[in-house]
Symmetry: C2
Subunit: 452 residues, 2 copies
């Protein structure tokens, strides 16, 4: 699944706020309502953790069926959101993302069935330790518990996120944006009704039915019931959640991805990888933003790169050394090195050697994905061990940073964090673990009891 970068999503911050539902609620009422949802989710989480793989698959299939059967209601709800967007003058891709139609509903339902077919991550034995005293320690994969998802815009997240959480045994509390509230409510209702026919615990999937800003604050502070919060949206939203959250947050920030064309690069291959990374889909977070070119091949390589970028209508923002070699390029400013363009723009810098490339990346990268292009295995190895990013590539396009491309079947996001989950997050990354220890009466101090 191509992941729209956080920065692109952030455009949505400029949408005038949509209608607030239940705007007559006081802070106390909002808090009380969300805490009730939290308590219910906690109960559902225990029930969910005990469901078998088959039971969960049956529930998921029933949810897909219910979604298809609720097509008319969902489209009617969506029409309200679209008309509200039109009243506020929203156009272009911002409006497009809100739209549901037959094809999109079918895609969401088909996606649920795909998740139903994936292996169940829960209950897998991750290891066993047999200790000399006879105790046996099993490390077992278990659900995390209750996951809060705060998202903007695209209503399909309601289903995508809830379904992945359910498959991994977690209860979810969803808080979508006001611009899609009617669509989100219709989708959540269809999922709940379909699932509950096959034993989905009540409270396992809940959508906060109002979009007051207060609700984000309440969720972020509710560490009594919420084990994890995942914000899916723009940088502003993520920053807000991070600053308020009392529980762990898994973030996917920008993708400021780099290609380093090393001295021993196959130059045609380098051009192909940069072309793919920059132009095949510029709006996604694993797209390239900066090319670092080793000084030893800059004079030969840069014209080849320029030729291809010209074919693709890509603007080059160049360092001084690059400007000395290429004409018709824009001088890069300092801020260009930290920019996620998500557009047909690329920054290009000549670097002295691999160490300089690594230093540049570790300074400016968002720790998402980087590639080295070289035939020199030792240099590639050094690059892979020195760069502090989630996904590192040697002679492969960064566009492969994706849960499906990694074989995970589905992904909830690409984490730019280092704790718990890094890079593409699939079902196993939506789980925790637990130690289950068995024995036959072992105590820490046998002698002490024998002395009684």
């Amino acid at each position: 699944m191509d992941r729209i970068s956080a920065s692109e999503a952030e455009d949505l911050g400029s949408i005038p706020s949509g209608p607030t539902i239940f705007h007559q609620m006081t802070s106390e009422e909002i808090q009380q309502k969300i805490y009730q949802m939290g308590q219910q989710a906690r109960g559902a989480a225990l029930a969910l953790s005990l469901l078998s793989a088959d039971e969960k698959s049956d529930i998921l299939r029933a949810m897909a069926t219910s979604l298809r059967a609720s097509r008319v209601e969902i489209l009617a709800a969506n029409a309200k959101d679209i008309s509200s967007a039109d009243e506020r003058g929203i156009t272009g891709s911002l409006r497009d993302r809100l739209i549901l139609d037959d094809a999109r509903i079918e895609a969401i339902a088909g996606g649920i069935e795909q998740v139903a077919d994936l292996p169940d991550p829960v209950g897998e034995k991750l290891g066993t330790i047999n200790r000399p005293n006879g105790i046996k320690i099993d490390k077992i994969r278990v659900p995390i518990g209750v996951i809060g998802i705060i998202f903007e815009s695209r209503p399909n997240v309601t289903s995508d996120a809830a379904v992945l959480c359910l498959k991994s045994g977690n209860a979810t509390i969803l808080r979508g944006g006001s611009e899609a509230i009617h669509s989100n409510k219709a989708l959540a209702k269809a999922l709940q009704e379909g699932g509950e026919q096959k034993g989905l615990p009540v409270g396992a999937i809940q959508l906060i039915p109002f979009t007051d800003r207060e609700s984000v604050k309440v969720l972020a502070g509710m560490d009594k019931y919420l084990d994890l919060i995942i914000p899916r949206g723009g940088k502003g939203l993520i920053e807000t959640v991070v600053s308020m959250a009392r529980m762990p947050v898994i973030k996917h920030y920008d993708g400021i991805c780099h290609a380093y064309v090393e001295a021993a690069a196959d130059q045609d291959l380098a051009v192909a990888i940069i072309d793919d990374g920059k132009t095949q889909k510029p709006s996604v977070c694993n797209a390239l933003e900066t090319v670092l070119v080793d000084a030893s091949l800059a004079e030969e390589f840069l014209p080849k790169l320029k030729q291809r970028m010209d074919v693709r209508n890509v603007e080059i923002r160049a360092c001084e050394k690059t400007q000395a070699i290429l004409s018709g390029v824009t001088p890069a400013k300092e801020e260009d090195w930290g920019m996620e363009y998500l557009d047909l723009i690329i920054s290009v810098k000549v670097v002295e050697d691999l160490q300089a490339a690594v230093a540049h990346i570790n300074e400016y990268s968002s720790q998402h994905s980087e590639v080295i292009i070289t035939k020199d295995e030792a240099q590639a190895e050094l690059f892979l061990s020195s760069v502090d990013s989630a996904c590192l590539y040697h002679n492969v396009s960064t566009r492969f940073s994706d849960g499906e491309e990694y074989g995970f079947g589905a992904e909830i996001g690409i984490s730019t964090d280092k704790l718990h989950a890094r890079g593409p997050m699939g079902l196993v990354e939506l789980c925790s673990y637990q130690y289950r220890v068995t024995g036959d009466g072992q105590v820490k101090d046998i002698e002490r009891q024998a002395g009684l």
Copy 2:
């Protein structure tokens, strides 16, 4: 290593603040100094991640040697802290924890050598995915980066924490309490000087040389340089860090641990496990605080339990049903069920069945460690799958929740979190991972480039 429970450590909150060093510093100066340390640590982290296992072991051994050689300076520094504690009227175990002597310094040095001998967690291949398109995805264990440790009281934490972080390739910034500032500085100096002789990167181990409260705030906000923060101390300290931190926090809160004596329990074994859990070392976080007794054997079992508790001078705080069976017990109040006594007190409740026991535990437990005592394997299995705590035991004392008992060699703490690390945290839990992907020019869209 027996871990003092957070709640015991919290007593230290009542110590009047010790002398603040450099108290003339402004907030800006504190921030500037700590950010400098952060930047230096970030540079050291890259250098550390490239050290071989042997290089790190040599550094650790040199640190142990240096610590022994600095005995006189360390003891002199410690004498200042003790005299300051005496001036403030600190006595008993609080004073005892501050004391360093020859034996304790030797224990710290010996501990470092033990860590040097442990296997290196960094660089291990955690898995490989070969994709149909020919790309190979290796998942490699890597250091987290820069870890902040905020701790109170015991100066040995300066060494223990820095050494475990170093072994796992992480740089550390330590912020100890004012009561041990002289000891901490002397220990850090000895570690740095010894390590640097064998190539410890400058900035890899840093102690904040002042103890203004502002420094905790600055550290917790410094997500530019700090990847993780671990508070080691009382609940108040942990809460403060959690509410301020912009980066992940790994917490070890209280240990409110439960034993459930199931209907088919071996009753003598149950008494032995409860005795061990409660009385062998009451001040630690894996000690038992509550016993749940199945109603079907309460009349027979409770007098046996009472007899043993009497031998150990343990006060029983009993539910109404227990009071009806036992005389000479204290009635339990509602707050008893959430109490971490860390003392010769235990709460006892009669429950209807396993479901009631699980419900009680999931409500009141701190999700640390719980045990079921039963001969019924099916009931044990149900308990182990239903209780949402880090370490679950069947017929084994909860006192085994410990990194060394689990065979981890050493531990930095016992996490009551569910994300990243749960239960005893050893060296591998101080690491993250990274995907390293190799190929021969794979791009996402081959046809698009072929069309040029």
